[in-house]
Amino acid sequence: MNNIEKIGKAEVIALFIIIISNNIIINIPTIIIDFTGTGAWLNVIYLTIICLIFMLFVCKFFKPFVNFDILDVSEFLGGKILKFIIAIAYLIFFMSFSAACLRYFANNLQNIYFDTSPLIFIILLFIIPIVISCRAGLKAISGTNIILIPITILSIFTLFFAASRDFVWQRLFPIFGYGLKETFLKNTPNIFVFNVVSYIYFLKPFLKTETYYKKISIAAVIMCGIYLLLSVVTLLMSFAFITQTDETLSLYLLTRLINLGKFLQRVDALFIFVWILAILSFLSLNVFIISHIVKKIINVKASSELVLPISAILFTISLSFKDMSTLKFIVRNIYKYYNCILVFIVSFLILLLAYIKKKKKSIKANNN
């Protein structure tokens, strides 16, 4: 990892898909359902449109900054201090989200299969492959991801289609859920579910050809929207929204509905198996980005040596959540708003101001 490893278009798209898939696996859609009720699917469409417009602006503002990520743009705008502040903010963002994901999934895994095993062992078993993967570098992470992505997509779509026979269309009503205001205005912060944007900010320097950046970003948002819509609609039609589906993985509950004839009646373990691979891939990417950020803050050449301490911190944080309700509270009430402010407001403002500064500079240079 001494030099920046470049990855191709297919690899980046696969990375985005794994991020989106993991959002679904770790129950993010249920948060939308909780806040908007049966209006969740309309909320998702509305948020997708907002996010698409937002992304168009982001791509436009990012265009003059070749090989820059959001930290480089911050440095360009406000010097090392701003870069440091933004880096720390993103560090907190990625670290807390990764830890929450890890804890949430490990906890569910423990509840489902390993009720006698201590949580610490389960989390440790997750950490080991993450360390190995991150030390191998981004190319290895993206390579692994591109191999795993077909089965991840297949598992999710199979699940949606297999569960379709239990769909009750009436559950989509009332169409505006808790009301128009709740569906559209009040729950705009639900845009945090498009957290794929935060990765888009960082993956630009890793692209082999930057010309694809805009297309890839737009594609990522559209894919995210489609996935979320599908999962929200599936969950809404499968369970009454009042049901507390978030006690465990919602998708896991969906798998329990599947039986393929008399032969395969309980295939949930196979789905969990695929999701473990997806989670590992996703967390590896997160740890890689965290180590990349730390590398930029402390200005070291190689980030591979940072992977072990970062993973140790991740391990500690994931264990530090008191229980699942604390975790849910943090995600729903802190992480959600923190994400919105950092990714959709602060970063956007930085990009906008940096874009203006760059324009002014180029005009000045042209005049001289």
Binding site: Y113, K262, D268, A269, L277
Partner: protein
Amino acid sequence: MNSFKEKLKGLFLYEPTQNYEFVLSENNAADADKDVSTNFLPDRDISSSLDKNYDYLKVQYNSLINSDIIFRPFVINIFGKNYNALLLGIDGMISSQLVNNFLLRPLMETNSNANKTQYTKNGIEFKKIKKTNVEDYIFDKLMPQNVVKKFTKFSEISKSVNSGDCALFVDSLSIAFVIDVKGFESRGIDTPKNEIVVRGSQEAFVEKLRTNTSILRRLINSSELIIENSSVGTVSKTSVAVCYMKNIANSSLVEEVKYRLNNIDVDYIVSSGNVEQLIQDNSEVAFPQLISTERPDKAVNHLLEGRVVIIVNGSPYCLIAPGVFIDFLSSPEDLNLKHQYANLLKIIRFIATFISLFLPGIYVAIMNYHTELVPTALLFTIAASRNSVPFPVIFEILLMEVSFELIREAGLRIPTPIGPTIGIIGALVLGEAAVSANIVSPVLIIIVALTGICSFAIPDFSLNFTFRIYKFLYIFLGYIAGLFGIAIGIFVQITLLCNLRSFGASYLAPYAPLTNLNTSISYFISPIWKRETRGDFLNTKRPKEQPHFSRKWLTWKDKK
């Protein structure tokens, strides 16, 4: 009476036991650090004095104790002047007929008139003797062989003599002629023993390097095929040929192969397997990183794809670099078949690979953690069959897997006629007896047998070994954490494979990183007329393999 006395003495008198004992003393630390080159005679230039050269050669070849070294001193007469000469060769390596008839005979005949011209001027007869260089004269007129080289160093001469040539030293010349008179016995071209195909070539490489290179030449029929020779091993000086297509193979790849081969500092190598271990990228990973084949058609196919073939003298297997994962899952038969047949075989092989690697691990995982995956009726059957077995699943499966490995190994080591019998008897009797004795359950026998059969469907011998090792790892992971453990194992393995490179090519190419799959190198193959490009990961000089319309006999309408 005497014998009685002797017996009595033997009964009561003490005689120290005298056992024959031979012990090799171990190397001390000082010897271990000694430079290996100190054991050899220092290399020297050839002297113009034949006696000095003779003395040096006697020492170099230990002529007093070596029985097969031939020193043949004789005299060459050129222009009436005698020159002492010495012929050096190794008995059994050179052809006596060639040496006697086409080397010694022309040299030993008197060559006094060869360079004289006579003419008469004004009634007076003149004889003109042209001044000629002895070295050129011998080279041009006395050696009717097609391959004659001149060397100035003893090291170069010994290398050639050791490989079957003979050397001629002539007094007053500070060079030696090395003449190709090889005549040693070698195995003729035979059918492949381990890579059998139905619709393909039936010839295999042999141990002789030059025969192997000639097969490649014959099959490729292009002057762009380059065969470069070098040697590996300080002592063995084994000849190694690096073959590549000059107009196709990436120059950096060729240079890298040559660089690695030229920088091997070992005393000896005896087979291509040794070279493989010495030049592969990562020795820690069990996966094979170079393709090894006994089939010339496979080697030719890879040469034309832009890879480099390495042939080692004395080994009927050549190496091909770089080797990527899908190469080891492909059979030489695939390219001889229509793509539909080949793809069917590839699907079957993929399933077989999956089963051979994961089935025992998945069985352990399911039996220990995920019994709900098994259909209820089947679960009852399994439970009933396991009811009388007192051991846990992990013990059962390890016992049977180890037994299977034992049968497999024993089957290989015992003489060929009874090998398969032992295999069948071992498998049947052992399995049947183990079930009857309630040591293992019948389901487990099916699992182990299926795994074993599937492992035989893996076309590459080395990959088969790799999977046999990893199979035990997955059994362990399945035991400690069920499918979760297996998922972790798969993830780590894929990551490590993504990080692995073979001569600069990503091991999981063309899938990770994802490149053009419609090439001649991908797991599932397209129709032959659609394989327009060579593998992206090889970055060849000629990326296009054929034009868009290769079947020019088709009408324009058909092409569309």
